[in-house]
Amino acid sequence: MGGSLLILLCFCSGLVLARLELVPHWLLQDDVVLWLLWLLMLLVGLSIGSDRRLGEILRTLRPGVLLLPLATTIGTFAGSAIAALFLSYTLAECLAVGAGFAYYSLSSVFITQYKGAELGTVALLANILRELITLLATPLLIRLLGPLAPISCGGASTMDTTLPVIARYCGREWVFISIAHAMVLDFSVPFWVMFFCSL
């Protein structure tokens, strides 16, 4: 829990300081986050590559690993369908937003193009929130449901943005499962979003 609170504190302090205009302008550029992400990916890669048990980890991967992206997809669609009951959007529109699986850049562009700016903005926020929830709640999710929970929660982002957090808290043996999960979801995002937008 301490880890989640510390992460939350970092995020909130950044948000408040930016709101109060107390941060330098160059920090508002998206490039800073991108460079940090790349640094993290390099560090995670070095960490995995230097692990002498890498071969053993790779041998543990089975076709059953594909169950995880399937569960994430079914669960996300079911949850989005229930949420649609309380919203003014149609079922297909809500499923299109859910089908972003935290891949907010691509899904929001698709949805804006097919369904308009409002739903596109909601998709952007919803998918950023999903990523943020994963980043902030990973230690708590592991405690409640085990290492599969943050991977499923992270959706398509578990290959990049949320991978360092997952590697850090779940352990390096879950990194390949996390990547396999994200890759399957990643390639399915355009298909699902376009499918639901066309309904």
Partner: protein, 111 residues
């Protein structure tokens, strides 16, 4: 996205090649501070976007409901597949945990 993946693969290759270097095991210690910094910058990015902040309540509530729905659904499905999934990974994880358990626990306590 593929740049990030490429960098990780490069890191893995470098890590494999430089495995014998004594300074290499110290590098993962810097992962946590960089994560904190990245979260801070994400907060700055959200807080500094006037349009996003102005419409945060209006559209944010709808987005939050959809996110909570999607995440909850995913977690329910994870709970359902957990026993079956464990059968596929337990063999490796068991031997992994045997040697890695203390280290992972130490990392969690550290944060």
């Amino acid at each position: 996205m593929f740049t990030a993946l490429g960098l990780m693969l490069t890191g893995m290759l470098l890590g494999r090649l430089l495995r014998e270097q004594t300074w290499l095991p110290c590098l993962p210690r810097y992962i946590s501070p960089v994560i904190m910094l990245m979260l801070f910058c994400l907060g700055v990015a959200v807080g500094g976007n006037t349009m996003l902040m102005d419409h945060l309540l209006l559209m944010g509530s709808k987005a939050l409901l959809l996110t909570v729905g999607g995440v909850t659904g995913s977690l329910v499905c994870v709970a359902l597949i957990r026993p079956f999934f464990h059968m596929h990974t337990s063999a490796g994880s068991a031997s992994q945990k045997k040697s890695d358990g203390d280290e992972t626990r130490h990392h969690r306590e550290e944060v």
